[in-house]
């Protein structure tokens, strides 16, 4: 296995607060990785750094693409997305007043091959490309089981389905690496089980590397091959679920000093 993403000594300061400090990670092609840690440990900040929402204070983020190293640190989010990195959001950020289908279509943007002029003049490329987009988007919605709701407004979907739509949308950009920020938050056990299946399924089908933040330990221990643990912005452990369960630093971080 070769690393697809390498994070080296990544640090982010907000004023005096060090939200992520000197974090290094190596993520291999095709792995399913869990990122855990107590509330406020800096997990989402780390995701935001990796996807370009924040600019790192220092450190490197290197993407390996066909043997070439690409520096992602400080790039704009849409640039990073164009390298095949996609994400979902902890506090669901769907395009609320657009339909389910349109939400997916938006994410296919970079693969649409006609410009503003062709759109305004309705050149033939517009029609052929739009047909392709429609078909592809419907296919993806079938994948996550939302096809029957394709014409509903995203905001009218129940919570669990909104999370699924976020995943469908993230898949629509054809990612190589998928970041899932608390995909199971607020879900009941049945929904979580369905979600687990879905994650397995898409990972196989699209040959994805998946990194997920999750508080549901049974989910994390169940599906992740390797787990990173953050506490107070520092990476305190990394290893297989078994190793993490028995790691004394991790137990301390979660349960406090006295055990």
């Amino acid at each position: 296995m070769e690393p697809i993403l390498e994070v080296k000594n990544l640090t982010k300061n907000f004023g005096g607060l060090c939200a992520v400090s000197n974090v290094s990670m190596t993520i291999n092609q095709g792995e399913l990785i869990g990122l855990i840690g107590p509330n406020g440990a800096g997990k989402t900040t780390l995701f935001n750094l990796l996807t370009g929402v924040y600019e790192p204070s220092s450190g490197l983020i290197e993407l390996n693409e066909d043997g070439q190293k690409i520096q992602l640190g400080g790039l704009k989010p849409y640039k990073i997305t164009s390298y095949g990195i996609s994400r979902t959001f902890q506090n669901i950020r769907l395009f609320k007043a657009m339909t389910v289908l349109e939400n997916v279509k938006v994410a296919m943007h970079k693969n649409v091959r006609y410009g503003t002029i062709a759109a305004i003049l309705r050149l033939p490329s517009y029609y052929s490309e739009e047909k392709w987009v429609e078909e592809k988007a419907c296919e993806l919605l079938k994948e996550v089981g939302l096809y029957s709701k394709r014409n509903e407004m995203a905001t009218n979907l129940p919570y669990g389905e909104q999370r699924r739509l976020e995943i469908a949308r993230a898949l629509a950009i054809h990612p190589k690496i998928l970041f899932l920020d608390e995909p199971a938050a607020g879900m009941n056990p049945q929904e979580t089980a369905d979600l687990t299946k879905l994650i397995h399924h898409i990972r196989e089908k699209y040959k994805l590397t998946v990194i997920l933040i999750e508080h549901d330990m049974s989910l994390v221990m169940n599906i992740c091959e390797r787990i990173y643990v953050l506490d107070y912005g520092k990476m305190i452990a990394n290893g297989s679920p078994e190793e993490i369960k028995n790691n004394e630093f991790v137990i301390k971080a979660y349960l406090g000093e006295e055990i």
């Binding site: 989402t44 935001n48 929402v53 959001f89």
Partner: protein, 293 residues
């Protein structure tokens, strides 16, 4: 040099007036994130109140000043209760459009009743002798403007920093929900903020009336915008920032009029605005707030 100092004095008196209006903008923006477009019209109403109080009721200047101040304060609270309160959690754009609507209503209602012609403010309200300090002419009027502005600013700083209400205002501006949980009456606090801001605008209106002698129902539009720009310049939501911003805009405008062309005195203010927004959108003293993802 003497001419420059003279222009500085003139600029400071104009700037004091902008600063008084800017304070209202900045306080309201600080607490409910609304650009209160109607604020400039409150200032216009202050001028008209004083005009009618002194011409029809022949009241003394200071009595008229107090009446205008209180009336504007109450009106500010009324506007907040009727137009802005139902929109407190709406988008900023919705609130901004509402504020423009309120501004139209105030301007044209006034124009309907008072007529669109320019009214001449009585000139004998304040003693208007001039002093000469090493060649620089300072009028009694300018001294009044400085003194009144300074008193009000000191008073405002005291209220915001030392009183219980001021503490509530600061708390609500940081986090409305948390303030509510701490037992602060958010509605009263917001109304009080509007009251203070509108009082200051009312005073500014009266001062402009006596300083320039002419008032009209649409007089609030341009100074209102400029005062807002002053607030942005100083860092919107920041009280000392609004004071500095107001003075700066006043001086810049006066200097452009004196050394450049009065035709461009409005343009310079917009240029300042755009430069600030591009170079330092949080203003001189503002804090950088980022959206949480």
């Amino acid at each position: 040099m003497i001419q420059f100092l003279q222009q500085m004095i003139n600029g400071l008196s104009l700037g004091s007036i902008y600063a008084l209006i800017a304070l209202g903008y900045t306080m309201v923006y600080g607490i409910i994130k609304l650009i209160n477009f109607a604020h400039g019209d409150i200032y216009m109403l202050g001028a008209f109140t004083a005009f009618y109080a002194t011409t029809f009721f022949h009241l003394n200047f200071f009595v008229a000043l107090i009446i205008a101040m209180l009336l504007c304060g109450v009106l500010g609270v009324l506007i907040e209760r009727i137009a802005y309160k139902p929109l407190r959690h709406a988008t900023r754009i919705t609130a901004l459009i509402t504020a423009m609507g309120v501004s139209y209503v105030l301007e044209y209602t006034m124009q309907y009743f008072a007529g669109s012609d320019v009214k001449t403010f009585p000139t004998d309200l304040l003693e208007n002798t001039a002093f000469s300090l090493g060649g620089v002419r300072i009028t009694m009027m300018q001294i009044y403007i400085f003194v009144i502005t300074i008193i009000l600013m000191v008073l405002l700083t005291y209220i915001v920093n030392k009183t219980k209400m001021g503490r509530a205002m600061r708390a609500v501006s940081v986090d409305e929900d948390a303030a509510k949980l701490m037992g602060i009456n958010v509605d009263t606090t917001i109304s009080f903020t509007f009251f203070l801001g509108s009082c200051l605008a009312g005073v500014a209106g009266v001062l402009v009336g006596v300083y320039y002698n002419s008032i009209n129902p649409l007089m609030g539009m341009t100074p209102g915008l400029k005062a807002f720009i002053a607030a942005v310049f100083g860092g919107i939501g920041n009280i000392p920032g609004a004071m500095i911003g107001g003075l700066f805009i006043g001086i810049a405008e006066t200097l452009v009029t004196a050394y450049g062309s009065s035709l461009y005195k409005d343009a310079i203010v917009y240029v300042i605005l755009i430069l600030v927004l591009i170079l330092k959108p949080d203003g001189l003293l503002g804090k950088n707030v980022k959206e949480k993802v």
